[in-house]
Subunit: 99 residues, 2 copies
């Protein structure tokens, strides 16, 4: 029994985490919206995307947990933005996985 052979390296796991965050059409649509600056607010997205607001919140949460976006309070709404640093890392890791 080997001590956690790192065939499953931390890098691989991180790549998988990012991929999982990207694995739902709604989440990709969110990123597209944020990326194009077309929209930054939960409420606006809720009008465009075909899901309930609570479901949208869940997807936003997952993107936040993955580090791909962040929310800044701008009362009474919340402005969501891409987290460029992690976004770049995701891009780099995934493109390296698909080399």
């Amino acid at each position: 029994m080997q001590p956690t052979q790192d065939i499953l390296s931390e890098e691989l796991k991180q790549t998988a985490r990012f991929a999982k965050a990207l694995s739902h059409p709604i989440r990709l649509a969110i990123l597209e919206l944020l990326n194009s600056q077309a929209c930054c607010f939960h409420g606006d997205m809720a009008e465009i995307l075909p899901v309930a607001k609570s479901t949208l919140s869940q997807h936003l949460k997952e993107l936040k947990n993955a580090g791909l976006i962040q929310g800044n309070i701008s009362s009474p709404t919340i402005k969501y933005c891409i987290n460029r640093e992690n976004f770049e890392q995701a891009k780099q890791l995934l493109s390296s996985a698909l080399k």
Copy 2:
């Protein structure tokens, strides 16, 4: 009620499908192995990767369903290879999603 607004375009859905295929460390490790030519056979992978053979088969099946790999019979074993065409498409779609 709008007729399936294509905020969720076919392209987005395809991107999500590829991302889902990449969203598990084992599957990424499989692709890494195939990509590096280090190994092509189910049996060889089963020795390296920390999962049961039946579980490995399931992951291989998902990668096949996503179109990222293909298996060629080479009795008594099966030789797995990257499907370069779809692999390229995945790369292109994901990199475009992360632009």
